[in-house]
Symmetry: C2
Subunit: 340 residues, 2 copies
């Protein structure tokens, strides 16, 4: 975000005045301060990233107040258009909206059409909205960590709704589902997976399925598709869970179904907040995320010890080839390291 770069506070020697300034800006709901804080946590320079972490720790008491909604679907399903329409509705109701994007492919391509301001004209034109494209971290784990932290920063800056946009065809959906309160999957009118190109398991992540582009010639087909999904979902299991999956039709183009979608999300959110389910889910997400980060770090450290990575690889090959058992090889690797 160019608007956040090159400000004078960058030049303070120990960063404490800089931290102070950014924290104050976030508390004052300054959009540029939020952009700057996100730029800091995304920085590949260790000292800059540390300043970002300090800012984040400082504003933690202000976090947790937003409705966190993931929005996913294959390219062409109209994610940006729907987010723009939903955002406009929320702005009209006086709510502040932040849009964050998670796109692991932006790492490869150097850019992402997710979180693209030109595709969200209403949000881009309104200063109560904040749009942030996907970070270009080295891997999905990095993108996910930065996005989780950006959610917290956006909450601290007073955004009432945080929409996390992602692309609907791979592992990034699992990541996003684990950082939001609800996960909306957008689908096209049509019949099943051939058309949708969805990966196995994605449908199961959804709390809400939206059959989008339900307008013109496709309106009838969209209703049929919605009914088909409702029927199909009854065969997916998950009995005994309180979270029913809802299937809606919508057309951002015609403004249809957007209010219904938001009513549903808001009602559920309020219900879950009152019952304690929201808090419980968020605590579980945090715990799980903490464990995973510790595991990753501990494994990284283990594999960085002298000779361990190469030994891991050669043992892995022997295991894959059926020459050693996985259990025996794992015992061998860990025992060899211990005696070092």
């Amino acid at each position: 975000m160019s608007e956040a770069e090159g400000t004078a506070v960058d030049d303070t020697p120990d960063g404490s005045a800089e931290v102070e300034a950014v924290v104050e800006g976030i508390q004052g709901r300054d959009r540029r301060a939020l952009a700057k804080a996100i730029t800091l946590i995304e920085s590949r320079r260790g000292d800059r990233a540390e300043v970002g972490q300090e800012v984040l720790e400082r504003v933690m008491p202000l976090t947790g107040g937003s409705i966190r909604l993931g929005v996913s679907g294959i390219p062409g399903v109209g994610k940006s258009t729907l987010i723009d329409a939903l955002g406009k509705l929320l702005l009209d109701r006086g709510q502040r909206v932040a849009v964050l994007a998670v796109d692991p492919s932006s790492t490869v391509s150097g850019g992402s059409i997710l979180g693209d301001k030109s595709r969200m004209p209403h949000l881009a034109a309104d200063e109560r909205a904040f749009i942030r494209p996907s970070p270009t971290a080295a891997n999905l784990g990095g993108v996910a960590r930065r996005t989780r932290e950006a959610i917290l920063l956006a909450e601290a800056a007073g955004y009432d709704v945080v929409l996390v946009e992602t692309v609907g065809v791979g592992q990034s959906e699992v990541e996003v589902a684990q950082m939001v309160d609800f996960f909306a999957l957008l689908l096209l009118p049509g019949s099943g997976d051939e058309l949708q190109g969805l990966k196995k398991g994605i449908v199961e992540l959804a709390d809400v399925i939206v059959i989008h582009k339900a307008d013109g010639d496709l309106a009838d087909q969209a209703r049929r598709t919605a009914n088909d999904y409702r029927a199909a979902l009854r065969y997916l299991g998950a009995s005994g869970t309180a979270r029913e999956v809802e299937v809606l039709t919508a057309s951002a183009h015609e403004g249809e179904g957007i209010e219904e979608l938001w009513s549903l999300v808001q009602e559920r959110w309020e219900k879950d907040r009152t019952s304690g389910a929201l808090d419980e889910r968020r605590r579980a997400q945090q715990r799980q995320w903490f464990r995973r980060l510790v595991e990753e770090k501990v494994m990284d450290e283990f594999l960085s010890r002298a000779g361990v990575a190469s030994r891991f690889e050669s043992l892995e090959s022997e295991v894959a080839a059926g020459r050693k058992t996985a259990g025996g090889a794992a015992d061998e690797l860990v025992a060899a390291t211990r005696s070092n």
Copy 2:
């Protein structure tokens, strides 16, 4: 297996004669030697378990030849009856059949109705069949490791088909799906998840869905259920994968559908073996399993260092309560350990 206990070779001082005897027994396709080898790998006594591991390493070149089929479904769906009928068919065709069970609840209850010989009268009466109830390890990971190793031992002992029975309501299905070539999910005639009590995600693991007890009054309903599942599966995603999910109806009671089930499994297995897909899947399973075991061991070691486990817990609570970020807390934990 009482038949394997108390043999004379137990008394050799260093175990090498014992290893030799058990290996020879397995090579000679002696059912008692197989039972004994499994008892050894399941042993909680370190020295006995080590003898088991030695046996396993020795027979590794003989492994990999069987068709590994997982059979899952809720209690009452008729898993044992179907396995007995399928086993009888295979025995009649001159194939040797092993049945292993994975039931994490047996750890709590001290017993399992899975792999129960009295429920598999044809298999129990035939010396070319081998039935082994679930190991009672301390946790599911332990059960899974022991069952993977038992599959290898059964293959080394010349069993052509290894059936792994599991219970269909939780995490054990994921474990079993990762250790077999194909995963069959048995369901009752009826409509969707209310009746089946399935956990979300279980249906997605299946390569073959069998609507069981398709006899008498339920025959028509079973056909309708099969059609409903076929329709529902089209909405589940997984386009672009080569593995189509088949839906069959069967009645072990009337001997209907058992041959069809086996033809399907066998055809797919041959096709995948010829194309290299089988080998690839098994290599991927082994690699994944090896990585997981190493991760578990490395984490166990990390958490066993002085003060780490308690620090992990207190940081986790702070993260769950939103007082610290997961990223910051993970950095803190690992950094503190490093300076020790």
